[in-house]
Symmetry: C2
Subunit: 451 residues, 2 copies
């Protein structure tokens, strides 16, 4: 039994929906379909979700919303017309879109979430109708009915664990079950959306709930590449990744799936595959708990920008019990998380994401280091990138660090910092952002040699 999730670009037009129908029909195991809202048909187009945000803004400002409603309804209507659907489903959808403007504005914590969720919700209705009319018995199931109960945190709903038992009952349906992604329902019955990557989270939750054999996540790419295609021309695509590898890659710039979306499937021990709606015969990238066979040591190379280093020197620092803790305390009091803390004997650096800093926070950090901790020197250095080489199998390949360091040094790239060994899955380099692309090139050539 498989859970299939389709992203917005896979559901943007009648033509795309035909591909979706073929995909679901092609495998009788595909019993659960989780859908996003219709995405852009072309680069000039507006996403339905963005149109709903406009609609919401006009509504709460008590402006006329007729044009907003009409644009959204027309968006669904066009698909319905092209697919030749019977009018019944569009009557329901149009009513649902209009009914949003009847929701109370005052003291309604969930108003924004209710507007947003309508994109997915109505698309699920339309798709279920389309499946039914084309020989694929299907049923639209609202998250409330599906049992997806969440915490009442608008825009950041968390699944309530008891939901899984209710979701499991969906296995009782004979038809294909079509569920809108991106939101759940609180215990009080309010619509509440997940954070970023919302429909992926729903797919992951449903897969865990129905104990799927596989969670198929259909996007518009042939899976995950071993390096960023904007930097490496035609990079290899990865056939198999572990959850740990995926998470390490996601940390430094790989954004195919948001890592929060992985948690329910990971905990439910459900393998996941990322496939391409436009090229369904491509095997895609499978994300598994454990590699099925011997892999090459490095599966992917990722990089992320926007890091700064707070470098601190103090003579005899390492004799001072509590020094490192106090440095982290200063940051924590300013609500700043750290990424890495490479340490020397009398030196310590704290790598943080630059977006966490403001001029006032910077000044405060340096002031406290100098006056409270009496350091000899403290400085904030900018324009660093983190480069990661990832692979569960690296541990058993002794020479990986040597190969990587040599590849970088041969290209004249200075390694500002290396952190290896805490995670068995990755080696992390800090380099100057100006050298990032050259560094990725060098590592890609070293670990993915052309045959």
């Amino acid at each position: 039994m498989k859970v299939v999730k389709f992203g917005g670009s896979s559901l943007a037009s009648a033509q795309q929906l035909e591909k979706v129908l073929d995909i679901v029909k092609a495998d009788p195991e595909r019993k659960f379909v989780v859908v996003s809202a219709p995405g852009k048909r072309d680069s000039q187009d507006t996403k339905v979700t963005d149109a709903l945000i406009q609609y919401y803004k006009h509504y709460v400002a008590e402006k006329n919303v007729t044009a907003d409603q009409e644009w959204i309804i027309e968006r669904y209507q066009a698909m319905s017309d092209e697919l030749g659907l019977k009018p019944k489903v569009m009557t329901k959808i149009a009513q649902a879109i209009k009914d949003l403007a009847k929701l109370p504005i005052q003291d309604n914590l969930f108003l924004y979430d209710s507007f947003l969720a309508a994109g997915e919700d109505n698309n699920a209705k339309l798709i279920a109708a389309y499946f039914n009319q084309n020989g694929l018995p299907a049923v639209y199931v609202h998250p409330k009915e599906a049992g997806i109960t969440v915490t009442p945190e608008p825009g950041n709903a968390q699944i309530i664990p008891s939901s899984y038992d209710r979701i499991e009952k969906l296995r009782g349906y004979d038809e294909v079950v079509v569920i809108p992604g991106f939101f759940g329902v609180t215990a009080e019955g309010d619509i509440c959306t997940f954070s970023r990557g919302g429909s992926d989270i729903t797919g992951s939750i449903v897969a865990a709930g129905v104990k799927a054999d596989l969670y198929e996540n259909f996007t518009d790419v042939d899976g995950i590449f071993s390096a960023h295609p904007g930097i490496i021309k035609n990079p290899q695509s990865i056939s198999e990744l572990t959850y740990r590898e995926m998470r390490e890659l996601a940390y430094a710039g790989f954004t195919v799936l948001h890592d929060e979306a992985l948690i329910p499937a990971y905990r439910g021990r459900i393998p996941l595959v990322i496939k391409n709606t436009n090229n369904p015969s491509h095997p895609g990238t499978k994300i598994v708990l454990k590699h099925s066979r011997n892999q090459q040591p490095v599966v992917g190379i990722s990089a992320d920008d926007g890091f700064v280093s707070i470098t601190i020197s103090k003579y005899l620092m390492n004799r001072e019990i509590g020094f490192g803790r106090k440095v982290l305390q200063i940051l924590e009091d300013l609500n700043i998380g750290f990424e890495h803390i490479p340490t020397g004997i009398d030196d310590m650096s704290v790598i943080i994401r630059e977006r966490q800093l403001t001029p006032i926070k910077e000044e405060e950090i340096l002031r406290q280091l100098t006056h409270k901790l009496e350091v000899d020197h403290a400085e904030i250095e900018r324009d660093f990138s983190i480069l990661m080489i990832v692979g569960e199998n690296m541990k058993s390949h002794i020479g990986v660090t040597a190969t990587a360091a040599k590849a970088l040094s041969d290209k004249g790239i200075n390694i500002e910092m290396i952190s290896q060994g805490s995670s068995e899955v990755s080696i992390l380099f800090v380099i100057k952002t100006a050298q990032k692309n050259a560094a990725i090139q060098a590592l890609y050539e070293a670990f993915f040699p052309k045959n």
Copy 2:
């Protein structure tokens, strides 16, 4: 103007003292001589300091101390006889040794320090007399008279900064000034000893005080080797080291000078040279503030054993602001300092010295990590060594890491962790202790190739 310090093995016998006289005479700039207590003449011998400890123990236990006194007096007497000194100095020394047994036992915080310090103090008297009798006008100056005022912390005296101005007045002497090392005098006039490396500290303080051009520290080795001679056969000796390099090497196993001894000279910007009393024509190892010329990238390779790693995993650890600080807080509450904290995304290791652990502390760490911080996994792994390659010039040699990693991997040595970049002076590897010697061999061959 130079301050010369001689260690115990340089002062163990009349034969050794003759070498010392020759050394001081050879350079009229050698105006200040700091001396240790007489060391062992051979491996079966007893150090005077150890004999003084016995004497102290018997004295506080109210046992008969005559034999202790006689042994110590005889030790000086033998040297005096061999050197043909006039009896006057031995009369003073014998009285001083006997007078120790007149010091109050009750409420005397400084009794032990007074006994210990007698080894250096009386040796200084003897050496000053010897110099005088052999054509080198010299004067014995007690630390009280020299102005070496210290905090009243027995066994851990700290110099009081105002001392330096008084010490500077020693420049007024025309004679060679002979000062006993290892102790100062409190504001109340009590004898109080320094911590480990005590005579080196005195030399360093005097050098800073008299604003010496050079602090010559005479030992029984030809300076500092680039790697441990017990592991590398005939290692190169280092001609020039910076204070920072010295301190990094001292951290991981190089123990020629205790790092606390370096502080006054370092702060006074006095260069230091480590030389061999038994081979004074060897240039030794000079320790400077800044390299005088272009050095090879790596000056030394050091290693130290007895490290453990507390490895911690928690899914989404790096999203949790304050997590790292809380881990360090747990350790700090148990009075445990950390050495290094390599971090992955969901993983963190804390490297600590094993001697800081007890079974109860270990259990408490794991308990708190599991219950208070709710980690997914926490474990204490043992038998790690830290391996450091040190050199101020590494930063400008891009390939150093690559060379080191390749050398280790070629010998099949697994790098458990690397920390590079926080200190510009060193690269640190954590490896299994069982592979330490092979690792040092591999690195030595890589960075100190045979010509």
